[in-house]
């Protein structure tokens, strides 16, 4: 339950090894008094490393839970049910999992392309629905959905990833509308280029930010529907979106 000065108690990170997810959880612990974190992810060994990291910055309780975006919806539902049964109300749920894929390879291999879509879009829809039901029932709480600026304007170099996130972005905004007036809220986060393990080795784009920058922006804009990180990339994306296609194709990267 959030208090008047933004203090919260409980955080769920879906994609518990995500750099942005963990950075946000860390900020919620240090700046907002969160004391309980549930890290849900595939690789339990890596989750344990994250668990230690969050305990070091002051979390009293850090649970690790198995979660795979590619599991079937029934599995997602029972995972969510168990988390809520164990920990009661969740104040902030971060939907932070996702895969970038390998654009050039994936556009030649339908199986791989579908896996990107299934992780970033289908899996996110599948787990968001039971989360949203829980939030509606508890009458408060925020679902933070990690989208991307590529969801606004997918480029030649990332359109499979961009398409999956565009679907997620539209779904999350609609879900926010559906929850409006229930006390629960959805925040869609569209970062530009973020230095994370996902983007390691890639060429840096202009306006690049760190995971902690994204975390800070999430905390500052927790009541907002859509945020861009850093703020100017929102305006840039809006311009790109309205450029004629031939021009977009000629832009660098």
């Amino acid at each position: 339950m959030r208090d008047a000065l933004g203090r919260i108690r409980t955080v769920l990170v879906l994609g518990g090894d995500s750099d942005i997810g963990v950075a946000t959880a860390r900020r919620l612990i240090t700046d907002r008094g969160a004391d309980t974190v549930i890290l849900a992810g595939r690789d339990q060994e890596r989750l344990r490393v994250r668990q230690d990291e969050l305990k070091r910055v002051g979390a009293q309780t850090v649970d690790t839970v198995h979660f795979d975006a590619l599991d079937p919806p029934q599995q997602h539902r029972s995972t969510i049910d168990e988390i809520w049964a164990d920990r009661g109300d969740i104040d902030v749920t971060l939907l932070a999992f996702g895969t970038l894929g390998d654009q050039l390879r994936d556009e030649q291999d339908a199986q791989r392309a579908v896996e990107v879509i299934n992780t970033n879009f289908t899996g996110a829809v599948s787990v968001s629905i039971p989360v949203a039901q829980r939030l509606r029932t508890q009458g408060h709480g925020v679902l933070v959905v990690l989208s991307t600026i590529a969801a606004v304007q997918a480029r030649r170099t990332n359109f499979i990833y961009g398409a999956s996130k565009a679907g997620l972005d539209a779904f999350a905004r609609g879900l926010g509308d559906a929850l409006h007036g229930t006390g629960a809220h959805v925040q869609v986060v569209r970062p530009g280029f973020v230095h994370t393990q996902m983007t390691e080795g890639m060429d840096e784009a202009p306006f690049s930010v760190t995971s902690d920058d994204v975390a800070q922006a999430i905390l500052d804009g927790l009541d907002r529907d859509v945020i861009h990180v850093p703020a100017p990339v929102g305006a840039i994306a809006a311009v790109l979106r309205n450029l004629p296609r031939p021009l977009v194709r000629r832009l660098p990267r």
């Binding site: 339950m1 959030r2 208090d3 008047a4 000065l5 933004g6 203090r7 700046d31 109300d89 509606r136 029932t137 508890q138 009458g139 408060h140 007036g181 229930t182 006390g183 629960a184 500052d220």
Partner: protein
């Protein structure tokens, strides 16, 4: 009540407009429906009653659960004006009572700074007014109350411990549907008011200690931005109900005329940060200078003296979209240095409190969770900004000072206390929980305040 009894989902906040949550709001059509609801309401997320929503924090919200909108129960049931008693439904406001009783020469014995509070809410928060040093809290002026609980209905008098557990019990002992309230006889609808300036905090407190008992009503306003030699400067207003002889001839013809109005309304939106350090400083300077240097007497109307902010409808919106909180604490007599220290730190931090009100309380009553104890209480209205960490740290440090001095913060206004300090500030908490648990063993009664502070001890 809606056909399925589950109500309509609404997003609710307290008067400070912070921390909104959604609840299913049920409008009961009478005490019977309240009783039926409570007996069948053992839902996972429980129930709490709500009146006019003047608690600043989250006392009358219940995320995901049910909120009973008690303003539907607003009948005046019986009046015995020979004895100065009025029996009303719990959703009746003090304004409703005054509109009926003042022209007949009676005044509610205790009224807070707004007339827009229900009798049920006044009991649940055990509110106080400017006459606490003489008349005690609101519940001290209550003869009887009808309380509905999951374990049945009770007609309570001050001989019952459940009566006192309900006073200040923040709605967590049950739902009050009716009460008999004691009234005070008045000759006129006016107040004879003495106003004086005090140059600093010591001066102000000395004046209050010396002569408060000569007046039925006493309160001081403090300029929390003043520093150095002027630290804690303020304006002291004290008064009594005026007699006919006190009134100017123009008012003598109709001495009991009581017609409160709301000539102003705050705009539906106000720019964030409108009440900032500069505007508050300007206001404070003006307010201080407006007050006479030497004591002067004057005649004021009831709304002007008791309920000045009620003249502006929705004044809470002036704090902008992120809302505000009120921090009110009390420290016992003998711990004036704690009060002084807090005012100093507030002035040093230059945190602008638009309204800072100082009052000397009389002795406490026997209610385990009633806020007032004999000592000094200070109430601060503080805007909440996005970057609220400065306020978070400052108020947390005030909490510690208050707790160490044997004081407490007011739960009806709280929106951010550290739950660990609750049993320190309210040492009778366990006794209250025992009385409460007998009428609500399954924890059907709950609220966001309860969830946040674990008042009812569900998790301990």
């Amino acid at each position: 009540m809606c056909p399925d009894g589950r109500g309509t989902r609404r997003v609710l906040t307290g008067w400070g407009r912070t921390a909104p949550t959604g609840a299913d709001v049920v409008v009961p059509l009478g005490a019977d429906e309240v009783a039926t609801h409570l007996e069948g309401a053992a839902t996972a997320r429980g129930t709490v009653a709500r009146g006019l929503g003047r608690s600043y924090g989250d006392a009358a919200q219940n995320a995901g659960g049910t909120v009973l909108d008690m303003t539907s129960l607003r009948g005046i049931q019986h009046a015995d004006l020979d004895r100065g008693r009025i029996e009303v439904d719990a959703g009746v406001s003090l304004g409703d009572i005054m509109r009926w009783t003042v022209p007949r020469g009676w005044f509610p014995t205790v009224t807070p700074g707004t007339r827009f509070v229900t009798v049920g809410g006044a009991i649940a928060a055990d509110i106080h007014g400017k006459n606490h040093h003489i008349d005690g809290t609101f519940t001290a002026s209550v003869d009887t109350m009808t309380l509905h609980t999951p374990q049945g209905d009770f007609d309570l008098t001050p001989d019952d411990e459940l009566f006192w557990a309900t006073a200040g019990g923040m709605g967590l002992t049950g739902v009050v549907t009716r009460a008999t309230v004691e009234l005070t006889p008045v000759d006129t609808a006016y107040m004879r008011v003495d106003t004086e300036r005090a140059g600093d905090l010591d001066d102000l407190m000395a004046r209050m200690s010396d002569r408060d008992d000569d007046y039925r009503y006493s309160v001081a306003w403090i300029d929390c931005l003043a520093t150095g030699k002027q630290l804690g400067r303020g304006v002291l207003t004290r008064g009594d109900h005026a007699t006919i002889g006190d009134l100017p001839t123009t008012l003598e013809a109709d001495p009991l005329s009581y017609e409160p109005t709301q000539p102003l309304a705050a705009p539906p939106w106000a720019p964030d940060g409108l009440l900032n350090r500069l505007t508050v400083r300007a206001f404070n300077e003006l307010w201080f200078r407006k007050a006479p240097q030497r004591r002067t007497s004057g005649i004021q109307s009831i709304p002007t003296f008791f309920h000045p902010l009620d003249a502006v409808k929705g004044w809470n919106r002036m704090y902008g979209s992120s809302g505000f909180l009120q921090y009110q604490f009390v420290v016992p007599l003998g711990h004036e240095s704690a009060l002084q220290g807090i005012i100093e730190r507030l002035a040093d931090a230059q945190v602008a409190s638009f309204l800072a009100v100082l009052k000397r309380f009389g002795p406490s009553n026997q209610a385990p969770l009633s806020f007032p104890i004999e000592g000094w209480t200070l109430a601060l209205d503080l805007p909440v900004h996005r970057q609220s960490h400065i306020l978070t740290g400052l108020l947390a440090s005030f909490d510690r000072v208050v707790a160490e001095a044997g004081g407490r913060v007011y739960l009806a206004k709280d929106a951010r206390l550290d739950p660990e300090l609750l049993p320190v500030m309210y040492p009778d908490l366990d006794r209250w929980r025992q009385i409460r648990d007998r009428v609500d063993p399954d924890h059907t009664l709950t609220s966001d305040l309860d969830r946040r502070l674990d008042l009812t001890g569900r998790n301990t």
